[in-house]
Symmetry: D2
Subunit: 336 residues, 4 copies
């Protein structure tokens, strides 16, 4: 039985706790939050937790083998670092850290201590993304042309991070997992419409070698909820519409056929369209966070590397940091 | 009765002809195309046209008062120029010209000759865009925050222009018409996935003063057809989904309320969400091109300035040219 | 503080309990179920309930003022009767009873004992149905022409009742509430495709005076989930699409205009179509069961009649019983 | 070259003419309509037709081998009869005739004269219905459970026939083609909301042996356009949503597994749900009427029986006539 402590019990913490509680082989022992009302809330629901406002009670407890961190981004580094230094395995909410340097330090520390560092890139554990990974790895899309993502709705405005750091980690981690390619440059534009200078709408372009392009639109100020990812290759095309209740992933057997055409003595590229069947595979309906928590336990038990390990978290932070730099300098191209 | 000549009878020309034929007060006299098969096609449908492969037969005909041009973009300048010089009113397909300099010359020439120069920004004449203009001009959206547009589908790949010059004029002209503001800078990324180096996917960002931003995604290589414009202001939000058969325009009484919150001694911006009714106004169902042709006739008769005059066409070309420059220089910001 | 006992802790019971627990002014004291595993399940979640497998512990407890019944339909009569006889207020899951005679007896008993009898017609308490009631009562639809309802999906097959008694109470109660008219006859067809002779698909037609018609399609064996109600009047038309995440209720300013046309000496009815705006009103998002539980408490406290009282429940059972009779006699018309 | 005469040039006639004109191997020679304005309209479009207001000019013309009839239903019998008697092949709009007796006479006459009698059940020639036929004939659905159809929208109110005879032939012909089974009884309810006593909304139930049921909802007075057919079997489920621009046909690998369960000593039917992939096959996009016209020519040339021959037309009229009888007698069951 692995004892787990949870630091942070705000918006996301209770979801983590609910899933950890149901995960075979682990026990949520202690929950920490600075706000007493959040602790009362979580205690009201279940009685067998120890609660505390002092995170040291979690990190220094020798009975606790793993710590889950669901606090504001700016604090991830400190909590994760202390937890690792105290020999705990760590699960940390996305994004890994607020800077690449801090993230690198955590990755190094985790390796040195021989502890797990799992970043909570929740979407990677959805049935939808896992099925898309299968499809792409089987080569069904052929050579990838582009990755386009839109994640917009009204709210939830954050106080500590802008929309880039809040929403884009979801889509960037999905792209990183599915494409498994190193980007070469990043450009981004962000706008803040409120007096607080926290940006609420951002567009990010990520370039790869071989003309592959990825583009992200994240937005807290949109009239309707859209969560749409399109991945297009030279053989097939994939659409992931997370708003749908069913058939979230659709594989289109569609594309173009390019030929050379010399008719009439004029050299022209001839483009033909190929439109075939569409197929919406059955998706595993298990809650992603449940799969993730079980994966965390499994990795601890068997000493294996998590799918969303610190290195994966670091790749996401690298792109976010570059995008932030691009924004600060009015949209310049930042090489990676 | 105004006699009209049409130059260009490829994809769009027949639509123009069909609508001009039905417009009260004008007569399509001569149709010109380089391809004899296109002339046979159009003659097969109706017998009372003169057809020719020599555009001079249109431009030099003293009985013809107006010329409609539906040829490849690169030829707009020449045909429009000669037509104006010969004292004809001109209706030219979008975009006005392939360069700002050429467009400016046409605008100047039209003014000098006292002739109309109407650019076929067809969408401006749809019931949807006209209704949106009404709503925005009535101040219903409040201060505009952003304009976001996605126009993607599979095909139709053009041989002479890239996706930027092919599709973006639609959305840029809609934005220009609705916002009626001068942009300050443009950035764009474009990718070509075919061997012909004609770009098939483009993202364009247009910045205005006061933190207003516009963004465009145009794409010939997408799995499904999307034509979605979102315009968000501080009072209400507007969505124009052109794929829908009905309720294409939706006005959302939604937004955020920003307050200052000094609770707990910490200065924080408090954001609240306001979600009200949605309203989909009845839209005039008249074919846009019909309205446009009637407007062309009306402007000729009454000597008034068209809604989509040469200046409007020029504003669109200015943005396209700047976007093209940005693309060539790998995404730099181009000031206007 | 009102003490409540709950009998039945299967599929629906836990929802009732969750909402009763959060309702100000009441306390869930005892929970009864025949299955020990269900009691353990509910206890695991919260610790402050008394649990029992003997319903007498609920019904005979003098500290309990109200009983909520969420058991199989065939047992509603007995439990509600004993609860009323013991002087308890009763909230009973839909449908009220398995027969009109039994339902009538309960209504009579409740009146005699001066106790509440509230039937859990949950949908009546949704923001959507309440808004539709407002719209209809304001006369916006004009004279009602018809009510059409489709409620289909795959599952959940019941063991004790057919799809008619399982799903149709939802839509019949909505119709009864919105139209507030007495039907004159019922016809129904039902088919069972399984070996157990429990019907899984049913069509029900209900006729009213003045050519008003209502039709219901309920189905456990459908490929996709549809929950669509259309209510059409001579002025406007209302659509309630419960599958949508937003804009569930749409009011269409649409209709026909009938004139007499004597042109060409032939007497003909001239029908013209009127198509106006569409309007999707903001809906209260409160969970319906929460509103219902609060209404139950309010009615107890203030001694008022619930919206979905025994009489309302009886009207629904009357139609169900007539439909059942029609089915048994192969679709004959049953007068009410 | 086969010369064709067309009688009737109202709503549907021009579509027939447009497609016949483009069909290889035939020539539209003469067009007849009582209204001179319709003839002018059709002549304005194309000049090479002979037009007449006297149908005898079509039927007696020895140069004409085939006659297409697109007139009001009540006149189908007379025109088709005279055409057949004059030795012409006949294509007649749906429904075949206004009565079974008349239809039978035409079928007999066509056989006697050795001429084709093709009923314009247009939907049978769509890519969607032909693909569904393929799927069903390949046994993919397994044993059919039911066929459910909804075809509703606002308009077009007919003057001569009610909604049953106007819209239901589409769906009944699709059902007849796909299921290829003989129904045993029909029940129907129809309501007229206008002063003209022409019914605008109808529900029809058709029963087959083996518990197969078909149900139709046709309606001229609905707020939105719905054209949805669901066909469910014990293996798979088929949905045909004709409103969609793409993916009109979806095949769901879904169903239930019925087992017997003797747990706890109680005999119960155990139902489990099976939810697999969804597949939307590519559909032939050819206009149905084009395919139908080519089929008509092919059948004439090769002397073969059309898919939608007089017998198929008669099967549809049989159901319509029974439904009409059921309506007249307030919804009684009419045995076939």
């Amino acid at each position: 039985m692995i004892n787990i402590g949870v630091i942070g019990c705000g918006y996301w913490g209770p979801n983590l706790i609910r899933n950890l509680v149901r995960t075979q082989g682990c026990k949520v022992k202690t929950i920490c939050d600075l706000k007493r009302e959040r602790l009362n809330f979580i205690k009201g629901e279940r009685s067998n937790f120890r609660v505390t406002t002092n995170y040291k009670d979690v990190i220094s407890d020798p009975c606790i083998q793993a710590v889950a961190i669901a606090t504001p981004v700016s604090t991830h580094y400190q909590f994760a670092k202390e937890a690792l230094e105290n020999g705990k395995h760590v699960l940390v909410e996305k994004p890994l850290t607020a800077s690449y340097a801090h993230g690198e330090e955590l990755v190094y520390l985790a390796r040195k201590k021989g502890k797990l560092l799992l970043v909570d890139h929740t979407f990677i554990y959805t049935g939808a993304v896992r099925k898309m990974k299968e499809i792409i790895d089987a080569g069904e899309l052929g050579k990838i042309y582009y990755f386009d993502s839109v994640r917009v709705n009204l709210g939830i405005f954050q106080h500590d991070v802008n929309v880039l750091w809040d929403l884009a980690p979801h889509d960037i981690s999905i792209m990183d997992y599915l494409l498994a390619k190193d980007p070469v440059s990043v450009m981004s534009t962000c706008v803040s419409h409120l007096c607080n200078n926290i940006e609420d709408i951002a567009y990010i372009t990520v370039n790869f070698a071989d003309n592959i392009i990825a583009h992200f639109h994240v937005n807290w100020l949109a009239p309707t909820k859209i969560r749409l990812i399109q991945i297009v290759g030279d053989k097939k095309m994939l659409v992931y519409d997370d708003i749908q209740n069913s058939e979230k992933v659709k594989l289109y057997d569609k594309g173009i056929i390019v030929g050379d055409n010399n008719r009439e003595g004029i050299y022209k590229t001839l483009v033909q369209y190929r439109i075939g069947d569409m197929y919406a595979p059955k998706l595993d309906q298990t809650e992603a966070l449940k799969t993730e928590c079980e994966h965390f336990l499994e990795c601890m038990k068997r000493g294996i590397k998590p799918i969303t390990d610190g290195i994966a978290g670091l790749r996401v932070v690298k792109i976010l940091e570059a995008a932030e730099k691009s924004i600060k300098e009015h949209g310049i191209i930042v090489k990676l």
